[in-house]
Every structure is written in C-alpha cells, then in structure tokens.
Amino acid sequence: MRLYAAAVYLFLYIPIGIIVLFSFNAGRHASDFQGFSVEWYGKVLGNPFAMEALTTSVIVAGLTAVFASVFGTMAALALQNVRGRVRILYDGAIYIAIMIPGIVIGIATLIALVTLFGHLNSLLEAVWPGGPGVAPRLNLGYGSLVAAHTLFTMALVIVIVRARISGMDRALVEASADLYATPWGTFRQVTLPQIFPAVLAGFLLSFTFSFDDFIIAFFVAGSQTTLPVYVFSSIRRGVTPEINAIGTMVLGVSLTLLVIAQFLLRRRREPAPAPE
C-alpha cells in the first residue's frame, strides 16, 4: 500500500522534476545532462517575445484576481440572504461557470464578442465625430482575456468564500449589532477579518488560474500573447531547453501561490482536511 502510494507520488512529481532539472542543463538534450548551467534562463530573460508575453500574463492575471475576488466576495456575502428560486438560479450559474470546459467558454466568448464588437464598431463609426477612421475600434485583447478569466475565477471565489461564511459564528454578527455597531462597522470589524483568509486564497487561486490558462486565452487573446500561448507556439516549433526554463519559472510562481492558498484555507480548520 505504502509502496503504491509512493509510486503514484513519483508519477505525479517526476515529470515536474525533469523540467526543473533540464532547465539547468548545459546541453540541449533530455538524454544527456551535461552539467549545471543557468544559460537558458539568461536566454529567456533576453528574449523580448517571452518577456512581453510574461508582462501580458501578469497584468491579465493581476486584474482577473482583483475583479474575481472583489465581485466574488460581494456575491458570496449577498447570496447568504438569497433563498428560493433566485438562489437555485445563481447556484446553477456558478456550477455551470465552474464545470463548463474552457474550450467551450473560449469559443463562445470569441464568437459572441467578435459579433458584438462588429456591431458596436459600425455604430461607433456612424456616431463618432470625425467619422470612420478616427472612431475607436473595439478588439479582442486585454479586456476579453480578463473578462473571460474572471467568469470562472469569480465563481470559484464565491464557492470558497461562501464555505467560509457558513462556518462563521453568526452570534458574533448579532452581538456586534446589539452593541450598536453600524452594519458597515460590523462588516469591517467582524465579518471581514473572518472571511479574509478565504478571500485572499481566492485571490491567489484566481491569479494562478489566469496565469496558467492556455485554452481560453488561445481563443480570446486577439493580438495579445500570454505566456502559455507563447509556450504552446514554441513547443509547436520544437522542444528547446528554453521552454524548460520558462516552465520552471511558471511552476515556481504557481506552486508558491498555491501553497500559500492551501495554507490559508486549511488554517484553523484542522482536523478536517478537505475544505470545499
């Protein structure tokens, strides 16, 4: 039993280990490790395309995380007071947003936004002073990336924060109100401190998801290139140790954020090891 578990953990982690190991390889090939070198990291840092893709990814992931955690928390706070048919409607939408494959979201967003922007652009050209040519044009890019990533991550934040709220002691909120705190005061001094770890975990998970997402970005990035899209097209052109270096950095970022998120979600909840 123990041996089996160990084998599965090796299966999960050896590929990651190989990426990390060979990102420090002085040679080019997987079969021969020719000594330690940070050469490939230098190559990545000096590659303007990779750096631009990285910047785009960080901006998109940052904005996504902010929108998702703020709007998701607001919705979670509101939904505790919503019952009946409306509640079922929202729960259904949240469930669908989480479960629907990224590829369907990518496609649907692509054709919906391209069509919508097409109509809006002709409208803008018609009403803009100065006429066609001067009028601003709506295009796929940062906006569509952030909007599409926020859909899934917001649903995720709602689920995480709601789980925290339901584990909260309602008596504290009532006590605070009895002691003449304003609703805003109660929120700031009682509710917020209690749900904050969940909000922060949601923020980090949202950032990670957006930063790692390939399939949605593949469809809705427009003229922008995120880091996963860049890596995908590089792989198509051939496997190079440079991708290992990028991969190691990407894994490093996600692993750090994830471990912090897990820590935040699990704190004060032992011994129950499986939070929703």
Binding site: M1, R2, Y9, F11, L12, Y13, P15, I16, I18, I19, F22, A30, S31, V70, F71, M74, L77, A78, L79, N81, V82, A93, I96, A97, M99, I100, P101, I103, V104, I107, A108, T109, I111, A112, L113, A147, L151, M154, I158, P183, T208, D212, I215, F218, F219, P228, I235, V239, N244, G247, L251, S254, L255, L258, Q262, R266, P273, A274, P275, E276
Partner: protein, 283 residues
Amino acid sequence: MQPAWVTRLLLLPATLWMLVMLVLPLLVVLVFSFGERGAAGGYVPAFTFAQYLNLPARFTAFQNTLMLAPVGTVVCLLVAYPLAYFLAVKVDPRYRTLLLVLIIVPFWTSILIRTYAWIYILGGQGIPKLLEFAGIEGVRLINTRFAVLTGIVYGYLPLMVFPIYVSLEKLDKRLLEAAADLGSSPLAVFRNITLPLSIPGVATGCMLVFILLMGEFLIPALLGGGKVFFVGNALVDLFLQSRNWAFGSAVAATLVIVMLVTVGLYMRLMRRRGVNREDVSLF
C-alpha cells in the same frame, strides 16, 4: 440581515458578468449552430439543421473522444482508488494534510507545462533512448494513443482522488472493525462495506474527469501529434483555422449536450441512491 437593496447591489457585478460572459455567449453558440457559413468564414443568419446533419464529417473526433474519454476515466479510477483508500484509511493522520496538498497542487499548476514534460519523457530523447541502452530498439511512444492516455491519467488523477477520498474519509471506521470482528475476511469487508459506501465519490470523480476529458484539447494536441484527434482539436481547427463558425457551433453545442446528459444521468443515479449532494473539494 442586509436590506434588500444592499443584497441586489452586491450581486450586481456578478450578475452582469454571468449574463454577458456566460449566458450571452452560450446563446450565441446555440443561435449560430442553426446558421450558415459565410463565404469568407464567419456566420450568416439562417435557420437550418444542415450543420447538425453534417456532424458525421467529424465522426472520427467524436469517436476518439467517446472512446478515450471513458477509457481514460476508468484508468484514472483504477489508479486513484487505492491511493484515496490509503490516504483516507491507512495513512498516519499527522502526514495526511501534507499528502493531500501534494495531490491537489499539481492539478492547479499549468497543465500545459506538465503535459510538455511528457513530450520530453516519451519523445525520442527520453524513454525510447533509455530502452535503446537496454538493447530494445525502435520503440515509439510519443504521438500514440498510449501517450495520450498517459497524459490524461497524469493530468486528471487529482480530480479523481479527491472525491473518492472525501467519501472514504466520511466512512465510519467502526463499521469496518465490526465486520472484521464478526468474522468477515478483509476482501469481504471491502466488497460489502467500503466499496458500496464510496460509490458516491467514485461517481463524482468519474463525472468530473469524463466531462473535462470531453473538452480536452491540449493533451491530444501535444502528445497525440495530430494522429489522435479529439472533439476539442476539431473545435480549434474549425474556429481558428477554417473559420467555419456555424458548423463549429453545432459541434460545440453537441459536445455540451452530451455533457449535460452525462451530468443528468449522474444526478438521477445519485438521487436514486439517496445521496443529496456530494462535496467536491478541490479548492
């Protein structure tokens, strides 16, 4: 209790987002699937079932998906169950949280990078090269069904382990002891108690993995080398290369319908077994 206007205001951004980024796009896909392809790609309004009738043109993609998705799900289950059992019943509780975190973490890291690692491992310079040293030549692993299946199990294992773990962890351990005290063999205990009580977790895990596999694109694209073609690959081709939005929408709508039917069947199965809602905890 919040006043009603506060509740509405708090829900406003999320509602707008759901409407514009979820409901509207899905409706557009549905409408487009009844349309026609424009001369230069894109979409021309119409009401025709031509796109749906044309679905057999992508038969191979559906066939591959509907074959490899269940196979992948079952292999995932076979690998995941013993691990989940180990984590829920056998492991020293002190290390349990750490071991669980170690399972979830890979799931949340870049699937692209993790799949890419397998190109390295299964590719010409990886395992086949090692086998050559051992005297076995001419083994091809990359761009085969085996490679795609490996990628699938690797990518989706955590999603299967967790629901099973949750259902096994809730299981009353005293039942196991009682059965053993009454003379049941370990195998009988497993078959009569552990397995039936873990069915909700198994069903949840299978459903999650199956649904996500239906829409998979990356793993067949990177490890199947264009030879093992999924519906997801057909969709990328239809939307980004041939720009046939109407037909692509019909393929996407069919995919979503197959997934909804799967979830529907699952829900019914669960209700019949008297399970209200299984907690799925991957966050």
